[in-house]
């Protein structure tokens, strides 16, 4: 493309440092003892407690059932992250498609109903949501954990924007070719949306991954513990009775960042420049 300017690089490097430095500090601090962290704060250099911290976090079995460990928590967070993002993409791509590409009464009305779900965050409707989920018998289940979270319009809104920006000529050409709504969607629109789907997947994966309030409220089974629940439990310190094990909390936080990074790595090749297939 155009020549790479030094200032561009500088801006990017500065941006990277601003965003990444805290993450390095989290990792470095997790290799120290809790007393060190309490007395001297977050550390920039690696300490001597790496093995003790990480082996405890990864391999210790804690909890009343003695089955809670990092593997279990990561697994649950993974299920939430994947279930949430996949579920969201599935229903929102088709819903947005209906809104944008079809002329049907109440289309606008439905869009606004869907959109209104952004206006009352889960925390505010959490007690009634609990009752609903309980009535449906979904307490202590992955379905109950994931479905209520999907009920918000972000992805549908996002795809609506994107579909509206797709040039008309593409649809015209497809119709001339005799494509019906189904073929148009599957063969043309979806491939065009690859980048957008990747973006939404990456972001929604983390939203599901980081859920705290809803899981802790509606599960009473330790086998559903997620990573964030684990982190907050370690940090739950009352009246200074004991020093919280900051090193373990930081280690868990660091581990919790790794799978989303892998998600980004996997999907980054979908962030491909240009729309090669659309060139006709």
């Amino acid at each position: 493309m155009h020549r790479i300017k030094l200032t561009d690089h500088l801006i990017l490097i500065f941006g990277v440092l601003f965003l990444l430095l805290p993450i390095w500090v989290v990792f470095a601090s997790s290799t120290h003892r809790p007393e060190t962290i309490l007395n001297q704060g977050l550390q920039f250099w690696i300490g001597d407690y790496f093995w003790e911290t990480y082996s405890a976090v990864l391999f210790d079995n804690t909890g009343f059932t003695e089955a809670v460990n990092a593997v279990l928590m990561l697994k649950n967070s993974l299920i939430l992250g994947l279930g949430f993002s996949v579920g969201k993409i599935l229903i929102s791509t088709i819903a947005a498609y209906a809104i944008v590409y079809f002329r049907f009464p109440a289309g606008s009305f439905f869009f606004w109903i869907i959109f209104s779900s952004l206006l009352l965050p889960l925390e505010v409707r959490i007690i009634p949501s609990y009752e609903v989920v309980s009535k449906l018998g979904m307490l202590n289940s992955y379905t109950g954990l994931i479905l209520p979270l999907i009920a918000s319009a972000t992805a549908t809104f996002f795809f609506r924007q994107f579909y509206k920006s797709v040039p008309e000529e593409i649809l015209e050409a497809a119709r001339i070719d005799g494509a019906g709504p189904f073929r148009f969607f599957v063969d043309i629109l979806l491939p065009l949306s690859k980048t957008m789907i990747a973006a939404i997947f990456i972001i929604m994966f983390v939203v599901g991954w980081n859920q705290y309030l809803w899981p802790i409220l509606m599960t009473t089974d330790e086998s559903y513990f997620t990573v964030v629940m684990g982190i907050k439990q370690i940090l739950n310190d009352l009246e200074g009775n004991r020093i919280p094990q900051y090193n373990k909390a930081l280690a868990l936080s660091f581990l919790a960042m790794l799978p989303p990074v892998m998600v980004v790595l996997i999907f980054q090749r979908w962030f491909v420049k240009g729309l090669v297939e659309s060139e006709k």
Binding site: D8, Y101, I231
Partner: protein, 292 residues
């Protein structure tokens, strides 16, 4: 909104049904209950309740701290939305334009979004701690008597900074995706027509990015209004003097922490109407200018 569309009687309903079903069961039904509760005075366990009409709303609005909180919310949301969008846009445009090392930058910049709000808040607490926080030392070293535990302005700076930090990554992903879906032919043509990078951005890239940009704007306003209480809860709990409590944090305080169901429901209804109004304005005023 012209545009070519399919005429099919049943298909659109089928396509939109799953989303609508989930929304009705898991959003509208609980939300309706929350709205209903805003008109009631109820003990949290649901054992005694009475209808009080608009009393809860009057109580909420006549509270002098509500007005203060509303003002802070407006300032906070505006700053967080603007800063995180502007910085993310800058980074996205630059990352988009660079050929070599693009993936490395992209991965490193997007990593941050994975940090859970609770964790970001905890890091913020450590970074701004009075005795051991490096950022606290940094600010004090520049001559600013930085004291977030006692000074409202300083405390506001800390929560804004951490909220912006968290949101930049997400916006970066959205903007980058939006930039990448501009057809290559269009970009190359623009390059030929307009050599000045800045001009090119304003006249070509930005309008093409507008649909994504509009989405990002609405989402960021929503994020700043609704999703930031996690950071506030971990870092300041609305202190000092209640000065860093946003409207949604007050809802969380009164409802989740204080078990005042009627009061917090009334507050959330007011908040919902506020943001809905804001959003309608955005749709009416801004969306008209976007050429899809």
């Amino acid at each position: 909104m012209k545009r070519q569309q399919f005429d099919s009687s049943t298909l659109p309903y089928l396509l939109i049904a799953p989303q609508l079903a989930i929304i009705f069961i898991f959003f509208v039904w609980p939300a309706a209950q929350a709205v209903y509760q805003s008109f009631m005075l109820e003990d949290p366990f649901g054992l005694a309740s009475q209808f009080v009409g608009f009393d809860n709303f009057i109580d909420v609005v006549s509270n002098e701290h509500y007005a203060r909180s509303a003002l802070f919310t407006a300032l906070f949301s505006g700053l967080v939305a603007f800063l995180s969008m502007a910085i993310a846009l800058l980074l996205a445009v630059k990352a988009d334009g660079i050929l070599h090392g693009q993936s490395a930058y992209k991965i490193m910049l997007t990593w941050v979004y994975a940090v859970a709000p609770a964790v970001a808040g905890m890091m913020g607490v450590f970074l701004f701690d009075r005795s051991i926080g490096p950022l606290n030392h940094l600010f004090n070293a520049t001559g600013w008597p930085f004291n977030p535990q006692l000074d409202v302005f300083d405390a506001s700076v800390t929560v804004i900074l951490v909220s912006v930090w968290k949101q930049i990554s997400v916006n970066f992903i959205y903007f980058l995706a939006g930039l990448q879906s501009i057809p290559r032919a269009v970009r190359e043509a623009a390059l030929i027509d307009c050599r000045n990078g800045f001009r090119r951005f304003w006249t070509v890239t930005l309008p093409l990015l507008a649909p994504t940009g509009f989405f990002v704007l609405v989402i960021n306003i929503t994020y700043a209004f609704f999703e930031t209480f996690g950071v506030i809860d971990t870092m300041t709990r609305g202190a000092p003097g209640g000065g860093t409590a946003t409207l949604v944090y007050k809802v969380y305080q009164d409802g989740f922490l204080g078990a005042d169901i009627g009061g917090s429901s009334a507050q959330s209804v007011i908040l919902m109407i506020l943001v809905l109004g804001l959003t309608i304005v955005q749709f009416r005023v801004l969306e008209k200018r976007i050429h899809y």
